[in-house]
């Protein structure tokens, strides 16, 4: 199947999300759609999938114009979509999930699961998916769940497969396996549109690369182009992806975790007897696939989550701090950049000024620069916010703009500005560049290195992006199912780290 997208334009109010975008995907071709967050990739795919109606332009399949009023039409025309967040029912089996929505039936409407099972087996064998049709989805690892999504699409005779940021949730090994599957599919004639912002993957698997920026196609690139070249195209200016770092001696242990255990919201053990030490002037990175207890660990350090009774302790310079409130920890030594800034790090409806004040509105013994006799000193607050906007390069109209109006990268820089300018000795920073544009990533990484080098801060970095971990960390602790598999030096190979992320000790 040859898919052609011609001059698609999609507006949301005054925002042009897609500005006359054209794209051709031939049968058996893997085309990578590369662009930053907000470039318009997902909007384009939602137009293709019939979720949005374009204002202009057309879609052609094998040179025939088609109109999709909804995902049903798109699926019928042979377009399958694997979303970043899986649309699977955890308590159903693989076969049941695959059958969902177009259940094959026997007489009297009884569901013919055997047929569905056979279909799963057939597809699974053909492409080497290795998926058991009778397994419950909730028991499957994330990588296999993703294959179930692909089977679901293929079982509906998808000839063109759209994969939306498919590797975000995978370990490096799973990513390699997915890429092998993609090649197999392409060989059998399926076309693939692969949406991502990870340059390494694009280089590894794509036949052609289409770069979009600010809703427009800015050009095509070859997989043989260097990462810097691709990044520059994406951002529209020269980008230096390497982090400059110097060798240096780290100082005293500032934060130590001794055999701590933490429960998650469902009462399951998320952190199981974990021990770590972070020293002044070093970056200790916690690597690992998402969902291995990193979130709960961070919340326990901040004090948002209680330690399991009887489990170890968290110590700041040798003193146990379990009894301290969140506020107490923040005021004494801790700066915290949460992984989900919109949920925990910012108030979208608040102005940047109010967001700078967020955890500094108490009058404490350090003296309260922003609050005097119970009232907010708006002049000082404005001056400090302007300073933060300036020095952290936050792109905003003014300090009165609400945080929700800023792009992800600028929101993150605002959070960093607040946390880095507050007095602190430990910086706990989780997923600092998630959903952040390439240009801001560069800046954020520089700031973290400055913390280490100039402020002698003890930096605890939690990241699922291996590239980020490798470029920032002095030491790497790999977390798997709530435990530290091992703590290794920063020059450990990607392969070894990948194995550790799957739970195999180095």
């Amino acid at each position: 199947m040859k898919l052609e997208i011609k001059g698609i334009t999609k507006r949301f109010g005054s925002l042009v999300a897609n500005d006359s975008i054209s794209l051709t995907v031939n049968a058996g071709e893997i085309v990578s759609l590369l662009g930053e967050n907000g470039a318009g990739k997902s909007t384009l795919m939602n137009v293709l999938y019939g979720l949005y109606q374009a204002e202009a332009g057309e879609i052609l399949i094998d040179d025939q114009p088609v109109k999709f009023k909804g995902p049903g039409d798109a699926m019928a025309a042979g377009i399958g979509m694997v979303h970043q967040h899986f649309m699977l029912i955890p308590v159903f089996t693989v076969a049941e999930n695959v059958a969902l929505g177009h259940e094959p039936t026997k007489f009297a409407g009884a569901m013919d699961l055997d047929k569905a099972r056979a279909r799963v087996r057939e597809i699974s064998d053909q492409f080497g998916f290795n998926v058991d049709p009778d397994a419950l989805v909730r028991d499957l690892p994330v990588g296999v769940q993703q294959r179930v999504e692909i089977i679901k699409a293929l079982s509906r005779n998808a000839k063109t497969l759209v994969l939306d940021e498919p590797t975000a949730v995978l370990t490096p090994q799973e990513t390699d396996e997915l890429m092998a599957i993609m090649r197999e599919l392409a060989k059998s004639g399926t076309s693939i549109i692969f949406i991502t912002h990870k340059l390494r993957e694009v280089q590894a698997v794509a036949d052609r690369i289409v770069v979009i920026r600010l809703g427009k196609v800015v050009g095509e690139a070859k997989p043989t182009d260097t990462a810097s070249e691709l990044a520059s195209m994406m951002v529209g200016r020269e980008v230096d992806l390497t982090v400059k770092r110097s060798k240096k001696q780290s100082g005293d242990v500032v934060l130590s975790l001794e055999n701590i255990s933490v429960l998650d919201d469902r009462g399951q053990l998320a952190v199981a007897g974990l021990s770590l030490e972070v020293r002044a002037g070093e970056v200790l990175a916690i690597a690992g696939v998402q969902g291995n207890g990193q979130t709960e660990l961070a919340e326990a350090i901040v004090g948002l989550r209680k330690l399991e009774r009887g489990s170890g302790s968290i110590k700041y310079r040798g003193l146990s701090i379990e009894g301290e409130s969140v506020r107490g920890r923040l005021e004494r030594f801790l700066s915290y950049v949460p992984e989900d800034r919109k949920k925990d790090g910012l108030v979208s409806e608040f102005s940047l000024e109010e967001n700078l004040l967020l955890n500094q509105s108490f009058e404490d013994d350090r003296g309260a620069p922003f609050v005097k006799r119970g009232l907010i000193d708006s002049a000082v607050l404005k001056a400090e916010t302007d300073k933060a906007i300036e020095s952290f390069d936050v792109r905003t109209q003014s300090s009165k703009t609400t945080a929700g109006k800023l792009s992800g990268g600028n929101q993150q820089k605002m959070v960093l500005a607040r946390e880095m300018t507050r007095p602190h000795e430990v910086l706990l920073v989780a997923q600092p560049t998630r959903g952040v544009d390439v240009g801001s990533i560069e800046f954020i990484h520089e700031q973290i290195m400055l913390e280490r080098d100039e402020q002698q801060t003890a930096v605890l970095l939690i990241s699922t992006e291996l590239d980020e971990v490798l470029s920032l960390a002095d030491r790497i602790a790999v977390m798997y199912r709530g435990r530290v598999v091992g703590v290794v030096s920063a020059d450990t190979s990607r392969e070894t780290l990948g194995k550790m992320m799957a739970g195999i000790a180095a």
Partner: protein, 391 residues
């Protein structure tokens, strides 16, 4: 209340002035239609509608002019009054009726902004009345001091009653909507019981009716123009309360933290704020403003006090708070508007227009303001599809 409901309320309160003004105009427009539909004079012309449609339209137009004309005469200025004092009486009545709506509206709006849908205004007013009536009928104190003590007693009692709902929410997660509704019943029946029981609040001469003695002269809110008008200093207290509300919510660190919890409790928690404790305090402060309305009611009626003196202000204040949105100024304006409705409705009745229309107009105004966020929330695409727009 789900976070979605909360979001809708927050959106309603954030409506632009234009939308509010439009909604008010629309409310009056549809109110006019109702007036016409059910007016006897207009109905009488229906029989000849096809032969003389002009009669129907003339009658309809006349009805609307009469109705809203009466509202203006009853609420703002009555050119037909027998003397100057009578001419200006309507506006003083509007101010008098507005004061408790403003006070309670401020309180409920404060709660809404912290994400607490306090609909226990009635119960909080009633508990305030219990306290103020006790002070005003059972204690003997010098003038002014008596009044201040009664006022403070009402505020404290209301605040405590509100704090109970906040405490239950913080401790057990019990939903404040359910809790405050139930506490309304408890408060009203408790008050009635006290008014009925000798030795508590029951009037010495009250016989079988649940009624208190008249409040002592020394505890009454002084009138502004002596005996000319009933208008008392309650309206000043209301304006002062609006200023206090503004200072608290827009300028102080406490109000800032209240707002933070209302917008994003997760972020507040991560910023070191004790969200549960904030719920308790916010409910108490919210109810304290409502307590001013209790004092306003309990210390302005020269006769004995019955349980109906709360006058459903606790409910009307919900509409005031929604209409007034996030700003003290707008709450005052909304209180004045609905106060004018209350003051003007007897005049409407005189010209044969049912004053219930005003209740409908009041409800329609809020409905029109609420509709866009409600519709948006009902039609809202699945979250994942919507978020994609921003990716």
């Amino acid at each position: 209340m789900s976070s979605k409901t909360q979001q809708v309320i927050v959106e309603i309160m954030a409506s632009s002035v234009t939308r509010v003004v439009l909604s008010i105009l629309l409310g009056f427009f549809f109110g006019g239609i109702f007036m016409v539909l059910f007016n006897e004079n207009v109905v009488a012309t229906y029989a000849n509608f096809f032969s003389a449609p002009g009669d129907t339209f003339a009658a309809a137009f006349q009805t609307i002019v009469d109705g809203y004309g009466a509202l203006l005469r009853g609420a703002i200025f009555n050119p037909g009054g027998k003397d100057v004092v009578a001419m200006f009486r309507p506006i003083t009545e509007t101010l008098r009726m507005s004061a408790p709506l403003i006070m309670a509206g401020l309180g409920l709006a404060l709660g809404f902004r912290v994400g607490l849908f306090n609909i226990g205004g009635t119960g909080q007013i009633v508990m305030g009345l219990v306290a103020s009536t006790w002070v005003s009928t059972r204690m003997e104190l010098p003038p002014i001091i008596h009044m201040l003590v009664a006022l403070v007693a009402a505020v404290v009692a209301s605040a405590l009653w509100g704090a109970i709902a906040g405490f239950l929410k913080a401790r057990t997660g019990a939903h404040e909507v359910i809790v405050t509704i139930m506490m309304n019943y408890i408060a009203i029946n408790f008050f009635t019981w006290m008014l009925r029981t000798d030795g508590l609040l029951h009037a010495a001469t009250g016989g079988g009716t649940p009624k208190s003695d008249p409040p002592a002269e020394s505890a009454m809110l002084p009138t502004i123009f002596g005996d000319l008008y009933k208008l008392h200093i309650g309206i000043f207290i209301a304006v002062f309360a609006a200023f206090a509300y503004w200072l608290l919510m827009e300028r102080s660190a406490i109000g800032y933290r209240f707002r933070m919890v209302g917008h994003n409790a997760n972020a507040a928690r991560a910023a070191g704020i004790k969200v549960e404790r904030t719920f308790i305090w916010a409910m108490a402060v919210s109810a304290a403003f409502v307590g001013l309305a209790a004092a306003n009611q309990g210390l302005s009626e020269p006769g004995g006090i019955t349980s109906s003196i709360h006058a459903d202000i606790g409910f009307d204040a919900i509409t005031v708070a929604l209409l007034g949105g996030n700003s003290a100024k707008r709450i005052v304006a909304a209180g004045l508007l609905f106060g004018a409705f209350k003051a003007g409705s007897p005049a409407m009745q005189v010209v044969g227009v049912s004053p219930e229309i005003l209740g409908v107009v009041q409800a329609l105004i809020v409905l029109f303001i609420a509709a866009p966020p409600l519709i948006k929330s009902m039609l809202r695409l699945p979250e994942s599809a919507e978020q994609k727009v921003n990716d």
